[in-house]
């Protein structure tokens, strides 16, 4: 392990094989924790006093929402590192995170709708948190649209970093304004925060699902990063050698 430093794996050529080795393990972790989390959530946790069985969807909804927010910050962080220190791999990782983040946002919205229907009779509710999730989805889509529209990869990396930074700064402002808007127009009769009191098994299930989502996110982001690396560095010698040996 001699010579292993913080920057050892910042070269795309060394990150790519490392990621390749880790991915199967990450998938295994995902499967294990997801099964555990779903089992605890759907089989073991008690039926809610008010909402019956339908509340169980929050075991997916809440971890998905957490992931969507954490991934946005991670994406902005890595993109900024790539911009400030000109580390291409960091920018590639940021690009790889974006679709997964958008997916979790979409999942959170969808499961939010599935929860809303049996509970309040409507598929959509303009609750402050759900509305903020929707806006977060727009921010993700904006990032993806911008970096895809720019042909020059370096300009795309840096423009994306700036946009993500602007987004991160604005998210608290947007959330605050949406909460304000929500309390003005609806009072607090309908709110996602009126979640059932957390029995410890419910909390366990959510934590297990969160870990499962983390492992999934790592697996998918690593896989996507590898694809981005191979495409961006296709003229480099190590990629050419890889392609030759694969033939």
């Amino acid at each position: 392990m001699a010579g292993l430093t913080w920057t050892t794996f910042s070269a795309p050529s060394r990150f790519e094989p490392l990621a390749g080795k880790l991915i199967p393990w990450l998938w295994a972790l995902t499967a294990v924790f997801a099964l555990a989390g779903l089992w605890v959530g759907f089989a073991i946790a008690p039926t809610d006093f008010q909402q019956g069985q339908s509340y169980r969807i929050i075991f997916i909804h809440v971890p998905a929402a957490w992931m969507s927010m954490v991934l946005y910050v991670a994406m902005a962080f890595w993109a900024s590192i790539g911009w400030a220190f000109r580390v291409k791999l960091a920018s590639m990782v940021a690009r790889a995170i974006a679709p997964t983040g958008a997916l979790f946002t979409f999942l959170a919205l969808w499961t939010g709708a599935l929860w809303g229907k049996p509970t309040w009779g409507t598929w959509w509710v303009w609750d402050a948190r759900l509305t903020s999730e929707l806006i977060l989805l727009f921010l993700y889509l904006g990032f993806i649209a911008l970096v895809e529209a720019i042909d020059d990869p370096v300009r795309g990396d840096h423009a994306g970093a700036l946009l993500a930074l602007v987004g991160v700064v604005n998210v608290p402002i947007i959330y605050f304004s949406v909460k304000w808007w929500n309390t003005l127009h609806q009072g607090s009769s309908i709110s996602m925060t009126a979640a059932p009191k957390m029995a410890s098994t419910m909390l366990t299930s959510m934590l297990l699902m969160t870990i499962a989502f983390w492992a999934y996110a790592f697996a998918v982001v690593f896989a996507r990063t590898r694809a981005v690396i191979l495409e961006r560095e296709r003229d480099a010698q190590w990629v050419q050698a890889l392609a030759r040996s694969a033939r």
Partner: protein, 218 residues
């Protein structure tokens, strides 16, 4: 900086029709709402703040491709970056020029459109004041979007997609102020929040626009 603002005014005056297009859009789009939902005055009065604010938002955003596009195409932008003056200062000047040409007309026209929606006096005043505070924010945020998307094929639509989410707080506080007045509450809270947004955007947006311009011209 002032010579840049005067130059933009001069160029807009020589292309008056193009400068007025977003205003025309504002009027036409606002007029669509009564046609779409029916002329019942009570409903129009309730809808008016939101509808007018959304139309003002869209009209502002549509005028953004002309903010840096022509200067980028004819090489003027490169000269701006090389002349030794502060780039955020330049972004501020461009945003100010943009606001006076495209934003102010919206502020002036909005009360007239409000009358079409049967909006009463105090609400009209709040609407106008809100737009007066909010349209500069849109020009400033729009500058960031326009700079990020310089020279891209899908520029116009992309700017809208990028800037709209960021403009949502302005929409909420601006329209909310008018609704508050209708409900008999003071709009001061909303308007001061709008003012705060304006201050924050004045501090942050020119810097972000400058960075985006450098990225686009790298």
């Amino acid at each position: 900086m002032w010579s840049l603002i005067r130059r933009d005014w001069q160029l807009a005056a020589r292309r008056r029709v193009e400068a007025l297009l977003p205003l025309v859009f504002f009027i036409v789009a606002a007029s669509l709402f009564p046609l779409g939902v029916g002329p019942e005055p009570q409903m129009l009065r309730t809808m008016a703040p939101g509808a007018l604010w959304v139309c003002a938002l869209l009209a502002s955003l549509l005028s953004l491709t002309g903010l840096y596009g022509p200067d980028f195409a004819d090489g003027s932008l490169e000269q701006f970056l090389l002349c030794g003056q502060s780039v955020p200062g330049l972004a501020l000047a461009k945003a100010f020029a943009h606001w006076t040409i495209f934003g102010l007309p919206l502020v002036i026209t909005a009360p007239l459109l409000g009358v079409m929606f049967d909006v009463k006096g105090p609400e009209l005043a709040t609407l106008t004041l809100g737009l007066l505070l909010g349209t500069p924010v849109l020009s400033l945020l729009g500058g960031v979007g326009a700079a990020l998307t310089l020279g891209l094929r899908s520029g116009g639509m992309l700017i809208v997609l990028l800037v709209l989410p960021l403009a949502i707080p302005v929409l909420i506080f601006g329209a909310g102020a008018v609704t508050a007045v209708s409900a008999g509450i003071s709009p001061d809270g909303h308007l001061s929040l709008l003012g705060a947004l304006l201050l924050m955007t004045l501090l942050g947006a020119p810097w972000a626009t400058g960075a985006a311009l450098r990225i686009a011209l790298d």
